[in-house]
Symmetry: C2
Amino acid sequence: MTPPFEYRTVDMTDEEFAEEQAVYGGLTEALRRLNEVSLRTTMPHDVILEATRKVEELSELLSAEMIPGNFGVVVTTSGHVRGYGNTVVGMRNAIAPPLKIVQDHVKGGASSEFFLNALYEGPPGKVHGGVLALVLDQIFGEAAAAGGTPGMTGTLTLRYRQPTPLGACSAEAWVDSTAGIKTIVKGALKDAEGNVTVEAEGLFILPRWAREQLAASGETPPQYE
Amino acid sequence: MTPPFEYRTVDMTDEEFAEEQAVYGGLTEALRRLNEVSLRTTMPHDVILEATRKVEELSELLSAEMIPGNFGVVVTTSGHVRGYGNTVVGMRNAIAPPLKIVQDHVKGGASSEFFLNALYEGPPGKVHGGVLALVLDQIFGEAAAAGGTPGMTGTLTLRYRQPTPLGACSAEAWVDSTAGIKTIVKGALKDAEGNVTVEAEGLFILPRWAREQLAASGETPPQYE
């Protein structure tokens, strides 16, 4: 069975990796702010039109040289894994909040504290229910991996207990049980007051191609950073 | 019981509404492109640093006047509902793909055809599983509303059948059954080839405050546009 995706390797030292993070990370942070400001601005139309032209000029400039499609996952020769494009944690993805997820390799779990601003709104003043599913899916996957049983999401069930106000949030997930290639992860999301607003359960399955690849290499799969 | 959120009303004619859509919609579209280009660009570091400065200047300019927090939902005096901030469909939200969702008020359902670019990546070349949950949650909510039984997501269960390649996707959802304030919605997401990649089921519940508000006004709740 052919792996549905592959990892690329690039030649890069630790120093080059750090500089890349600073430069591209800075651009992405600036864009995150511009995305939010552009949603909330009440400046007059002529200013908005002028800003639009400048944004278009920047796209023109930056698109002169770019990779042909999606970012993918790249492994550097110094051993860093660059999952820069990931929608939740990607360092170069301006739509990622981004989450910093802490993995617990001893107990098999993952947790994160993060802030969801006006861009993540569903009902007025509340986080979009689907955004909560999005962040939980990422945290759950990293919990399964931290537990030593990485996998792709098979099923995900979310129970919304109450609306989650925009702002500070936290979430944690832990491996509940494992059986062969299947791992059950459970977790919860809390609002700034510490109230549980969403409970969730996920089944993660290690695909056959990945099992074959792991067996051949004798290695554990790379983690995002 | 106090409604957890409220709708604001603004005085605006149809013409003003259309102009606002064109101006702010244009800025948001330009930003969507810049977000993607910035993820994929391979331009040298000095160009990236110069672009970062320009993005920061734009944030400075546009943040001179803005609403204090989240966008919320605004109803114009001409009857339009502006859910501009919504993460999935918001016209002024640069992180929204955005989806255009078609509601079927006769059969009680909703569907959408959309394109997910490199910004929506999870596994290399594939749509992030949580992004699929995000778009389905929005479509499911609109299906429940189209069926005459709007509500907040109570539970959402997703079954991932196979990875979804980045690119063109489609999804549809329909009201499966209703019982009092509870509505069960079912649906599926397909890749560009028409293969079902995700199946889902959701339970939507009309909160008590909304039932009281509807009973008092004799009206159906507004739809996003």
